[in-house]
């Protein structure tokens, strides 16, 4: 072996040693990195477990709250029913029954929230169907029918809106059931729920004789309509009730219209 060959071999060995040291260093770094990744993964998994547990606990707590609110409202309703049953005065009984229906409309919001996926919003169309099952069965089932229509997408509202909307719907539908068809006449009531993205409109229309021209409904002389006016203002909406002939010539009946903006939380 001549000296040039020896030098070449030494250079090669030197290069190999450099490469080997780099490989070893990289292996060491890789091992450290792998350990660090494993550690971080474990930490993230632990955090996820804590978050999932917290989320489950929050859901259970919210469900329990909705359940308890619903139960307390049932107790209030029982008290009103018992009070009504002690009176022979029909006006007292009717007034207490109205109170029960209003409380029922609020309790139903909590019932729907309890069943909702995120426990925060309810589908107003589904809510209205359940509300009407209670109202319709009171005494009008055979002579008055209620049709409920909704546009797509549905109207999902948080509790801040839902309670107001629930009470408004209760008042408008009860009002139509009690007053649109006098002296045992019958007909159909149409409840329509529209979501246009920025706004929502709810109408309750009947095909009865309509409202008398001298009836100053806009002033909300009855408690029911006063509630509707005030709750409409609370959700920054507008409310009006008019004869359907004003919107469409020859059309019989009256129509109540609630329009309100869908804020960021709606």
């Amino acid at each position: 072996m001549d000296s040039q060959n020896v030098e070449t071999i030494l250079d090669t060995l030197n290069d190999l040693s450099t490469v080997l040291s780099l490989v070893l260093r990289n292996a060491f770094l890789y091992q450290n990195l792998e350990q660090e990744v494993r550690k971080r993964t474990r930490e993230l998994e632990d955090k996820n477990l804590v978050l999932a547990k917290t989320l489950r606990e929050r859901e259970l707590m919210l469900k329990e709250i909705h359940h308890r609110v619903k139960n307390n409202l049932q107790i209030i309703n029982s008290l009103l029913y018992l009070q009504a049953s002690t009176s022979n005065d029909q006006r007292v009984q009717e007034a207490l029954e109205k109170g029960q229906n209003r409380i029922h409309s609020m309790a139903l919001v909590h019932e729907e929230l309890y069943h909702s996926e995120d426990l925060e919003r309810i589908d107003i169309l589904g809510y209205t169907k359940k509300l009407c099952q209670n109202l319709e069965s009171i005494e009008y089932g055979e002579r008055i029918t209620i049709r409920i229509e909704g546009t797509e997408p549905g109207l999902l509202l948080p509790i801040t809106y839902s309670v107001s909307i629930g009470i408004i719907l209760n008042e408008l539908i009860t009002n139509a059931l009690k007053h649109a068809y006098p002296q045992g006449t019958g007909g159909s009531i149409i409840v329509r729920i529209e979501n246009t993205g920025q706004n929502a409109t709810i109408t309750v229309a009947d095909d009865g004789p309509g409202i008398a021209e001298d009836l100053d409904i806009a002033q909300g002389r009855t408690l029911g309509l006063s509630l509707v006016h005030n709750l409409a203002q609370q959700i920054h909406g507008s409310f009006r009730i008019q004869n359907r002939s004003e919107l469409e010539a020859g059309r019989q009946g009256s129509i109540a219209t609630l329009a309100f903006p869908l804020g960021d939380d709606a």
Binding site: K63, H67, N71, I75, Y81, H104, E111, Y114, S137, E139
Partner: protein, 129 residues
């Protein structure tokens, strides 16, 4: 009209059982007893043989009304309906397995309850709700 139909109310919330008693009696049914727990319910079932039982699910002392429903279904003598504020899927499914006449959710609609009992009393088929 309903004088022959006696009803046992199994409910631990006294104000609600008071309301149910008054509601049923006004509608012409006879309430043969009110039990806040299973033990008292079994006692009334044995001694007064009700024609129908209304059962709340969460009862006094952690008693569960579905246990009573299962027993009534097994004996196949006394029809019953649940009245409960708890309406989550698992509770509902467990209750429906006992084949009640109805599952009513609280807050109770007085008219809905009367309709179910009248339909049952008149022998009409009623789909559990």
């Amino acid at each position: 009209m309903h004088e022959s139909m006696s009803i046992l109310i199994v409910e631990d919330e006294r104000l609600i059982s008071m309301m149910l008693c008054r509601l049923l009696e006004t509608a012409g049914f006879a309430v043969c007893g009110v039990a806040p727990n299973l033990l008292e319910a079994y006692d009334i079932l044995e001694n007064r043989s009700p024609d129908f039982v209304l059962i709340d699910i969460h009862l006094e002392g952690d008693d569960n009304g579905i246990v009573l429903g299962r027993r009534l279904r097994k004996e196949a003598k006394t029809p019953f309906a649940y009245v409960s504020a708890y309406s989550d899927r698992s509770t509902y499914d467990a209750a429906m397995e006992t084949k009640p006449v109805a599952f009513l959710q609280k807050p109770i609609s007085p008219q809905a309850l009367k309709t179910i009992l009248n339909e049952y009393h008149n022998g009409l088929h009623h789909t559990p709700r």
